[in-house]
Symmetry: C2
Subunit: 456 residues, 2 copies
């Protein structure tokens, strides 16, 4: 790759300047109040793709936030790589835990600190620069398309329809995604499995108004206590989820594959230290890596009810709420699990409360083989920069659209992630190390090269 | 009582005008931001007592919010009644459930709607007017003192020291309090038992920051799930509290007394309908009235953790919190129970979380006999206005200072409450029926009369 290192070295500052412009747009997809910011971010990307060398780029409306599509077709007979990314970001609460403004990026200790620094503005932006390099140095070996959406963090509710409506436009040989992590800065990895997601919100109602806990406490059921009992019962003492039928379709991973996985480097002491816990917890009979890689989980993502401000208020609340998500493994159907969960939750409600449960969003898991052209091309690209073969890795995260692309567009995806677990995505002080950022820009062009060569 | 009905009839509007002035001062004791309002309310009362006929009144500083003291001594050889009340009020959240502004009183359907309308500004104000009547018509039969504090809703943390420091000033024969309810508008009652309170706040910490629930879910314990399990385990399937030693000192109420209590009118269907629940719940083997009257309880008054805003954020939170209160019955020591609770809560924490538990406040229960002069005087006063003897009643609420007065000042209290359960104290749309308000003003002077006569 002629002049690749030089291209990066020369433009380092400019890359950051441009990325920071995009990060400063607070494109939080889950909040209605940021509707305008979604268009602002989409238009920014459209203009930027043109500047970087795309033939065309456009902002396409959906039923929700818009999708940016762009392309450079140099020869229809050549392979086409489609880059997927998302410009939307997670909310930033709790704000008081941020050490700098979430939407005012700051470099500290060689890392970019900001919401979206990694997920996914930072990782997506590496593709813009790799593309620019290939175009401007006349080394682009294939056709390129970009599909950049604005609803990934809320479960991509409009994307299935968008793909169905634009099948022709979205034709490609492979979808290239950087929205995952590698195992360590010196251990590249390719994500070969993702968990699906079923995400619900529940409401438990006791009395029709907040009551005085002295005058009624002990005689009228407290919905906050009841919600705790209900949530407590959702997992048993072995760490298994008690929702009826929950495990029916769970993929049974072979002994051989589990042994393979166990060869990935994993330091339990370092893992515990990184998040500062004395012990790990999870389903009996599985390692920590297996618990996130091949086993489903159930987490309370938020819980609230009663008086939560400063000081004392002895209220017996009328309502208590929780957001509960389940991460699913291959073969578990998100819609089916959501139905099972809601049915189960309603069935365990005692007669002295009323419960409501609703879907927030969901998506399917994904598992991909390692003997494909795209896997081999990605592997060689990583090896080129890092000097070692990447490890195939089953991540616990969810990118539901990966299985959607296969289903609707018939296109496989390859997940070349450059994030690190310490990047605190979805959390305060999200960050992205500059080293990962520049290494990503350097690695990606090799994927283009090897993929095109192997595909021919 | 000469001209009493006429006094009330003539001044009805003026009473409300004055009370509303006091209600408009948002004297929320639990919030630092309302510090100035506490002094504003205290000074308002001081001036008002003088206008109503007190010899002197003063605002006395404490370590927290000030106490208003006032008195009229007509003859040191006569008995002295000390009126206790509190000018502080509960917070007003959740604000969106109020049908009118909490601090802008409004009359609807014959009720005053406002924070403090009943608890305790409205009930306290009846005493000011009864006092004014007795003074201005020259019928005051005894000496009167007023002790009006500003920390009742936060557990009266400064009052014990205040009483100890002012024993001489606070000498009296009986303390008269209107801060409780009667069983129904036509069934007067005298509260002969109150529950104590132990109120704690707990914090459960898992990882040192919010984590991505996909990348970590199932492998790192979620403190919100853990808190639910811990809270769930605090009560068993019989509705009994599992804190070790919790029931050791609980007063065993005799079969005879329980039979007496069961004669109080109670309509379970109406009780359930009033708060709109299909079933009641509580400790096995006790009626609803017994569950609040003679048995302790444990309630989550507030719970929070993780992402609780609109939409979806798949976070594995770092921390989860709850405010948990226990209502105690006579002989249970609040400090001891608090210690037992904190010890128990820490002992049930699994090794993968850290827990902290702290005291918010506490106070002792109270039980008073019915054969005292003050009970008999109050009984006759109620009978005078309502035409029926009041029912002795054990309330589930807590006014910890009642036992404090007995301990520090050696003075018994008599609880002549005019509130109703439907007054929604501590809740949105707190209200106080005008009928209760005016009946209270009419009843109280008779207590002065009968108490003085019987005491002589």
């Amino acid at each position: 790759m002629k002049d690749l290192k030089n291209f990066i070295e020369t433009n380092k500052e400019k890359f950051l300047e441009d990325l920071f412009e995009l990060i400063r747009i607070p494109s939080i997809s889950s909040k209605e109040s940021h509707k305008d910011d979604m268009y602002k971010a989409a238009n920014w990307i459209k203009d930027y793709l043109i500047k970087d060398g795309a033939d065309m780029a456009e902002v396409l409306d959906t039923e929700g936030h818009p999708v940016v599509f762009g392309e450079k077709i140099i020869d229809p007979s050549l392979p086409t790589i489609m880059v997927y990314g998302h410009y939307d970001v997670q909310p930033v609460e709790p704000l008081d835990l941020w050490e700098s403004e979430p939407f005012e990026p700051e470099i500290r200790d060689g890392k970019i600190y900001a919401r979206g620094a990694d997920d996914d503005k930072g990782q997506m932006f590496m593709h813009f620069k790799a593309f620019e390099y290939l175009v401007k140095t006349d080394q682009l070996p294939c056709n390129v398309k970009f599909m950049i959406e604005g609803e990934e963090e809320i479960g991509s509710p409009s994307l299935e329809k968008f793909c169905n409506d634009n099948k022709k436009k979205l034709e490609a040989d492979v979808i290239l995604v950087s929205d995952t992590t590698m195992l360590a800065p010196d251990i590249p990895s390719i994500t070969t499995g993702l968990r699906g997601l079923s995400f619900c919100e529940v409401e438990v109602t006791g009395p029709n108004r907040d009551l005085h806990s002295g005058l009624f406490g002990g005689a009228i059921a407290n919905p906050a206590n009841v919600l705790c009992k209900m949530i407590a019962s959702l997992t048993d003492e072995k760490g298994r989820i008690t929702v009826k039928g929950f495990y029916d379709d769970v993929e049974v991973v072979s002994k051989e594959e589990r042994e393979d996985m166990a060869r990935a480097p994993f330091d339990l002491a370092a893992y515990k230290k990184a998040v500062d816990v004395d012990e790990v917890d999870g389903e009996d009979g599985y390692s920590s890596m297996e618990r996130v890689g091949i086993r489903p989980s159930l987490d309370v993502n938020g819980i609230w009810g009663g008086y939560t401000e400063e000081g004392a208020k002895t209220v017996l609340p009328s309502k208590a709420h929780a957001k509960i998500s389940m991460r699913l493994v291959p073969h578990q159907d998100s819609k089916k699990i959501t139905e099972l969960f809601i049915k189960h939750f309603e069935s365990i409600a005692p007669p002295y409360v009323k419960v409501k449960a609703k879907v927030l969003h969901g998506g399917e898991g994904y598992v991909s083989p390692t003997d494909t052209i795209e896997y081999q091309a990605a592997s060689k690209a990583f090896e080129e920069i890092y000097g070692v073969k990447p490890i195939p890795y089953r991540s616990g995260g969810s990118i539901p659209i990966i299985s959607l692309f296969e289903k609707v567009l018939g296109i496989k995806s390859i997940l070349m992630g450059f994030g690190l677990e310490s990047d605190a995505i979805h959390s305060p002080n999200e960050n992205y190390p500059l080293e990962q950022f520049y290494n990503g820009i350097e690695t990606i062009p090799y994927f283009y090269k090897y993929y095109t060569e192997m595909k021919k």
